[in-house]
Symmetry: C2
Subunit: 411 residues, 2 copies
Amino acid sequence: MITLQQCVAMDERDPLGAFRGRFSLPEGVVYLDGNSLGALPAATVAHLQQVIAQQWGERLIRSWNEAGWIDLPVRVGDKIGQLVGARPGETVVADSTSINLFKLLACALRLQPQRRVILAEAGEFPTDHYMAQGLSAWLAAGYELQRVPAAQLASSLDQRVAVLMLSHVNYRSGAMHDMAAVTAQAHAVGALVLWDLAHSAGAVPLQLVDCDVDFAVGCGYKYLNGGPGAPAFAYVAERLQPDLQSPLSGWFGHVRPFAFEPDYAAAPGIRPLLCGTPAVLSMSALEVGVDLMLETTMSVVREKSLALTDILRALVVQELEGHGFEIITPQAHAQRGSQISLRHPHAWPLSQALIARGVIGDFRAPDVLRFGLAPLYVSFRDVWQAVARLRELMRSGDWNRPEFLQTAAVT
Amino acid sequence: MITLQQCVAMDERDPLGAFRGRFSLPEGVVYLDGNSLGALPAATVAHLQQVIAQQWGERLIRSWNEAGWIDLPVRVGDKIGQLVGARPGETVVADSTSINLFKLLACALRLQPQRRVILAEAGEFPTDHYMAQGLSAWLAAGYELQRVPAAQLASSLDQRVAVLMLSHVNYRSGAMHDMAAVTAQAHAVGALVLWDLAHSAGAVPLQLVDCDVDFAVGCGYKYLNGGPGAPAFAYVAERLQPDLQSPLSGWFGHVRPFAFEPDYAAAPGIRPLLCGTPAVLSMSALEVGVDLMLETTMSVVREKSLALTDILRALVVQELEGHGFEIITPQAHAQRGSQISLRHPHAWPLSQALIARGVIGDFRAPDVLRFGLAPLYVSFRDVWQAVARLRELMRSGDWNRPEFLQTAAVT
């Protein structure tokens, strides 16, 4: 039996316990949706105030140089690079995850002129597939987006596969791939790999260089706590950078952007992944979130993440048996990210009723309750309370009320 | 002779005079670079504080619905639509100008399957040309980016031209095209038009519907005062929206983004131009700038803009004769935007020496001093002071000092 007292004791021993105070979290809310929108670092408020009032308002255009706005994409990129096991110069912040995926998928396809298959997993977060479809529709070569269940990925890898494009941690189930093994399997048949780290970066340790990863993209507004719609990042292995040719060839990726030359000439290194003028306000907020995470290490984060997810799993079994929940997140540590997902026929009204009781998780169509456990600010007591309130809802039947049955869900 | 007293008197009569106090401008600075980075609206500071601390920090994920984040791209787009003469539903805010241009150019080319020429003007802001080159390089059809001087545009329009892609106001010279006439000329040969309004929106009256414009893009951080790297906008005429097929087909352009369907299906209307998750912080700042501009009308703005540019031209002639300046901005009202550009062999050190004396204009390679006159916050006295300080520099020769000769220009 796990007790509330044990959870409180685990919080007292938590080496990340002090981080919770570094976030501005609302009173009385158990926030288990940091994999949709990360919480607000307290320092972000003052930093953005400074960026807006001082850098923009007082110094105006001069801040491009004085305040280092011009270097933000590479500077914040390299900081994220430290979190994902990249070398300096391999990671950059720009645009959105979808757009970065488009750029890198295009670059990868160009490197594989004889191959026509983009292999992906069925049931991943769909924007990656939408972007692949959009890109393919524009290319005369005729690419096939082949989607298979995870168990069939290895057997589907063959000489036709140009790129294996894969979410490292599945947004819905929380299942995690073995990045080193899958990358090696892809390379063995001559395929390139493009990993989507949206649910990994800041949640699990990553070693992109050690895993010999070719390309990766990731999200700034989930575990990196960069704020709503924060810019995304892109990683390209150093060895592939000389061959980068992004179709989105904008002036910030030009070798001499302020020479205003008539023809595009790509900058060296990672910079050709930049396109238009960087979103300074949003990128400045992201930097605060990344800096905060760099105050600890990903192994400490992972240790707490596993403890949180273990406790949540155990409490679901202990407290919710017989109420129709199925845990769809894999049990093995090596196979899961930092979330626990429960399948339940009434997942939608349950998610709404939980929110009304101060437990914010989220719903993923058609029938999944998803709880993201961001180790920097989620406590073991939070986990206890979430399950306790869910149990109360099941016992009272209070989830079955008209206000919780309305539609409309939003990430 | 124009006198300082006359300038002060014009400020006293200025119907936009009260707007200057709505901006947070630094003391003692004459800011003539609003066409590179617009000034900070005073209300932006408090609004972003509220968006960050309250909407993000307190309400977290719930703000996508509660605070209307989900509608920001269309809501702010429609507000910009009012400034550019668009119908509701024809304008949306998303990504950067470069990326929006890529989307619309791609859509336009797809509508013209028999034509292979993208016609543009030589010497425009180069990112538009870079994006066209990047897109073309990816398309098997083999497009030609044909660039000609403005005077040859009309004679270059023929049945080969798929798209005429044109900056309405030239970033360097400030020369403005006759949008109605040029659009009609393009349509007469069956070409589509794609206007870049970066130096027009918020600076000159625009009537996109009345001019029968097909596509347009524009910038949020210049005359719209949206902040550094603010998101950009895109316009598509209602009649063309059913045929929109953007290669950047991300989940925010899906007809049911939160159903997480496996295959892309475009939303109706303008929404297929959305791609990834919108940058809420940057977009919220842009909304304040646009709201402020909507408190007046573009005809009042234009009237002051023409008066400011007329006075600046006249003062350059009156005060700087014999110092080697050439005014490259056209004299006719109908042919210029809201800036005056001066060619001078020492434009770079002059621009730096002026900044050191509190007059911020900017330099455009290789030899142009550019003064943007944003009518909401630039005064006639500012114009007087800018010319007076430039005259002092020329007379004293103080621009010719080592610190002003170093390189490195930005935006």
